[in-house]
């Protein structure tokens, strides 16, 4: 009995010591990370970073796990990266969560992803303090009509609840492709211009009046035309400035129909690491590369 009690208390003490040591290590690494971010902040810090989270399935395959586990590991990695970004002072973070092309995957995998998305949205709403703690506003970007009702409603609820947060913004691209976004912006701009024409028509007395009017409504010379700024205002991504850095994990070097319009002057970075393996040092390297290219890219942006 005595030996049992001694063992029990020793184990308790050891576990308590391990927790204290872990706590100290945690605080120490936090302190080091803060030092590093303070040094990085001497130079220009990106305002907006976009991530293509590629490599979850390969990560799972490497470890002989089901694909769903790869996506879950990807989500954990995302939370760490978001924490580092907001700590560094990045205001906008965009992530490519689900492309319209991804609907072509096996239905079981699509369902797993949708369920995971729903679960994580509900988690962020339930413990909305996490999102409120960092003051993050959530924006779901894409053709949300393509999503199932449950996921779309959860996304809309999340946007509504976090609408008043203003310290940072997380843009989650779901059911998104750049070409779909451009077509949608063109459609909306066309409707805007038609509305403008109709409004002008009403003021000039067109519509149901006689043919004696001097300026015919069929004379389209003075109809409003679409300009670049009209399309930009109607993009899904109009809520954020253009990204400063676009990161794609797993070493692939293509954009896969992501932010094609917005990435004209974005620094591209393609680390070989799979998304769940992406960490602090990759982010630090991305920011250092951005700082090296900053004078050139700023010059090009201004020339445009």
């Amino acid at each position: 009995m005595g030996r049992f009690l001694v063992n029990f208390f020793c184990k308790e003490t050891m576990e308590k010591e391990a927790r204290i040591t872990e706590g100290y290590w945690h605080r120490f690494s936090s302190f080091l990370r803060n030092c590093m971010f303070n040094v990085l902040s001497v130079g220009p810090v990106p305002n907006h970073i976009a991530f293509i989270m590629d490599g979850n399935r390969r990560y799972a395959k490497k470890r002989n796990l089901p694909v769903g586990n790869g996506h879950k590991a990807g989500f954990s990695s995302l939370l760490w990266i978001l924490g580092y970004c907001y700590e560094l002072g990045v205001k906008y973070v965009t992530i490519y969560a689900f492309s319209i092309d991804n609907f072509k995957r096996r239905p079981s995998e699509v369902q797993t992803l949708m369920d995971l998305m729903l679960e994580k949205i509900e988690e962020m709403l339930k413990e909305e303090s996490i999102v409120n703690k960092y003051g993050i506003r959530l924006c779901f970007i894409g053709n949300l009509k393509l999503l199932s009702d449950h996921v779309r409603e959860a996304a809309e609820r999340a946007m509504k609840v976090t609408a008043k947060n203003d310290r940072a913004v997380l843009l989650i691209c779901v059911a998104y492709t750049s070409t779909d976004e451009i077509v949608h912006a063109v459609e909306e701009s066309c409707e805007d211009k038609l509305d403008q024409s109709r409004a002008v028509g009403k003021i000039n007395g067109w519509g149901n009046h006689s043919d004696n009017d001097q300026t015919s409504p069929k004379d389209h010379k003075h109809d409003p035309v679409i300009k670049v700024v009209d399309l930009e205002n109607r993009m899904y991504m109009a809520v954020a400035p253009d990204p400063d850095i676009l990161v794609r994990s797993s070493g692939e070097t293509r954009l896969s129909n992501f932010l094609l319009w917005q990435s004209s002057y974005s620094q591209l970075y393609c680390p070989a690491a799979l998304w769940p393996d992406l960490g602090l040092w990759h982010l630090v390297w991305a920011v250092l590369s951005y700082q090296r290219s900053y004078p050139y890219l700023q010059k090009k942006r201004k020339q445009q």
């Binding site: 936090s30 319209i100 038609l194 670049v228 954009l255 896969s256 974005s266 591209l268």
Partner: protein, 251 residues
Amino acid sequence: MVTTDSIRRSSARIAQMPSFALSVLWFLIHLVISIFFIVLGIADAVENYLISSGFLKRYDAINVGKLRYLAIVVDSEDAMQINKALKLLQWLTDIGVKHVCLYDSEGVLKKSKEIILERLSCAKLYEEGDEKSVLDSKTMIIEFTSQSDGKEALVRAANLLLKRLRSLGENQEEKIFTEAQMTEALKAVGSGGPEPDLLLVYGPARCHLGFPAWRLRYTEIVHMGPLDSMKYGSLLKSIYNFTLVRQNYGK
């Protein structure tokens, strides 16, 4: 996970560090990185020599047929060195690339297209429908693009669709706003070239500098460095690496 308390305490301590020390550290880090890139440049030069001299056997037989359409983005200031651009195009002809799209945002290369086509013996200007044409072993088709083929072309295409919408009037059933219709509209306004498989960026930064968005969906983008320091070996290596890539297209 990071806690706001730990951030506040650490920040308070760090705020006491003089900003001068931080600046010195920042400069030192960037100096080390610059030295790293110089060393990397030397290694690249050695590799380039080995590739150009044929020591690395795997670059001998490249399946260039897999590269149906190549795009080159050049910084506009570098593009003023027409001789460099000509040299690059000559290398591409030697490698066997059939279709090339040259892009620079200001349109410097576009303005010099007559000179370029004249000086290259076996090159011809791109015309719509050329993607399907069969060429002899030496001819290369070159397309010249600039900023006006990017966002501005999309706006012209949008206005074309707007005109169509106006002429059809209200209560019409035809679907005007689809990706296919947009592609057709871009062709109609003269900016409907094919999508490149590979895009090589010759400039100081890894950035596509506004290459036409509609044609960039699944293009592999590779940064080659400034045009001044272009190397035949690096070009060959980039094309070889491209032939190894396998895309899922989202599946």
